[in-house]
Amino acid sequence: MQKVPFTTGYLTAHCGDDAYGTLDGYKAEGGYETARRVLKKGTPEDLIETLKASGLQGRGGASFIAGQKWSFMPGAEDDTGPRYLVCNADESEPGSFKDRLLLERAPHLLLEGILLAAFAIRAEKTFLYVRGEYGEAIRVLTRAIEEARAGKVLGPRALGSRFAHDVVLVRGAGAYICGEETGLLESLEGKKGQPRKKPPYPAENGVFGRPTTVNNVETLCHVPHIVEKGADWFRGIGTAESPGNTLFGVSGHVVRPGLYELPLGTPLDEIVFEHAGGVAGGRKLKAVIPGGLSMAVLPAGQVDVPMANEFLRERQTALGTGGIIVMDDTTCMVRVACIITHFFREESCGQCTQCREGTGWMNRIVSRIERGEGRFEDLALLKDVCAKMEGKTICAFADAAAWPVQGLLRHFPQDFQSHVTHGQCPYPGSFVLA
């Protein structure tokens, strides 16, 4: 089971005990009361307004305003057939392990968030798509859904209201690209997870040809709290543009790797040095990836930045999934580039030429530099390949593959140059590759 966070807040306060794990435990803490009230007496319009007013940004990586996304769904006048909510629990961004905690330890909080979101968009069914490797999460959720059905939380009269809802748990099968929302929809339809061209967007034509909203696990877990305590309460946490807490995951060379629930806008250096205890083994910091493997790295001198997109943007990176990967001064950035490019090469779905060829090309170039067989032109070539991949493909995967490489070249060109000049790695103590 995922270890409980070192710092908790409203999202994870009960992740260490049973309160969120069983239906009775959850109800004893007042769980499902918010959804019961809204499903019986509220309206979808009011709910969407509350979410919009709260400013909650999606926590799946793209930070899109959740209330706005819900409002794209057709209203009550559309009665052409079912619409669906999809909960994206495919969490596969390297460095991200926050959704796993919520899936394993707060299944009923998630189900309450699902009920509220589904009510807002008038969905009769939710497809909860969990990455196939998350065996424990799948066991816990299967049990929680059965409990919720037996307890009439789900069903034809959810929580005693006139709203009917059911949750269908779907198991992924090991493909990172199925986390991209339209790749996920294809996968739900029993196809290869190859992302779709947009438009049409899912709100118009989603899964099985019906209007669909896709939301991340953590996004949905914020919803019951926002609805219970109000948009103003939520606005009071975090920054003006990026409200609320989020679950930061800290990994790599730190004293206390783990999850930290903190307000958005918490400075990165505070998270790394104070919360996570600083660099392990008394070593010095070299670099931090702030938001999962897809985001550009920051050198040690630039970690005094609040963890919110409006500030990270100025440093040419982004919050992503809040997966913070810390690297000490023994770390060879060319090896880091090898791992990053290998990952994207393996996971490209292969539809777009720029992405399919570009990811392989990048990986071959950085691998030969790492082996000491690189050429000086290779650095310019790498930059050129990145530029040709960015913004030109069906989905954002190709951008996500180019950004981290661009970041490494921007901040650590000397690591690459040194490999080319001396034909070997200048960091004898660096972590090793396979």
């Binding site: 270890k3 460095g95 392990f97 796993r100 779907v170 099968a173 290869k192």
Partner: protein
């Protein structure tokens, strides 16, 4: 052959979706759990059940890392080697396991007991290095700990 028991599970899977084909990914999981792999013959049978061309099922088996066309040994052991794990010695662990088992990555021990593989990030970054044995995670490992986990497998 996809026997009656598996077929019943596949039918139940199909019933969960508004469109028959939605059940195909789940059917592949069911077949692989029941038969240890998704063989060419099984893909053809699934194609008949789902009214699609065999090549469409075979493509899925090859697209999704989870599925394989031939059996992989009783226990499948995967070492995460993405960046957070690599920074904490995952590749040293992997090499140690190769030696301990006497097989390389992607191979199965001669007695068919253990298949060793490497995987991309498994969402256990704060508890690196780690291995996945089927649906179970073993985290915060060192080589001795990982070997003990493998030795305890039947």
């Amino acid at each position: 052959m996809i026997g009656e028991t598996l077929r019943a599970r596949i039918d139940a899977e199909i019933a969960r979706f508004p469109v028959k084909r939605g059940g195909l990914l789940g059917a592949l999981h069911i077949v692989q759990e029941g038969q240890g792999c998704v063989s060419l013959a099984a893909s053809k049978e699934l194609a008949a059940i789902f009214d699609v061309f065999p090549v469409e099922v075979i493509e899925l088996v090859r697209f999704y890392n989870f599925f394989h066309e031939s059996p992989r040994g009783r226990h499948q052991v995967y070492v995460c080697t993405n960046l957070p794990c690599a920074l904490r010695g995952a590749n040293v662990l992997l090499k140690g396991l190769e030696q301990h088992l006497g097989v390389g990555v992607g191979e199965t021990t001669a007695d068919g007991r253990v298949h060793l593989g490497r995987e991309e990030c498994l969402g256990a970054c704060a508890n690196a290095p780690m291995i996945r044995v089927g649906g179970v995670y073993h985290e915060d490992l060192d080589l001795a700990g990982a070997c003990a986990v493998l030795d305890a497998l039947e």
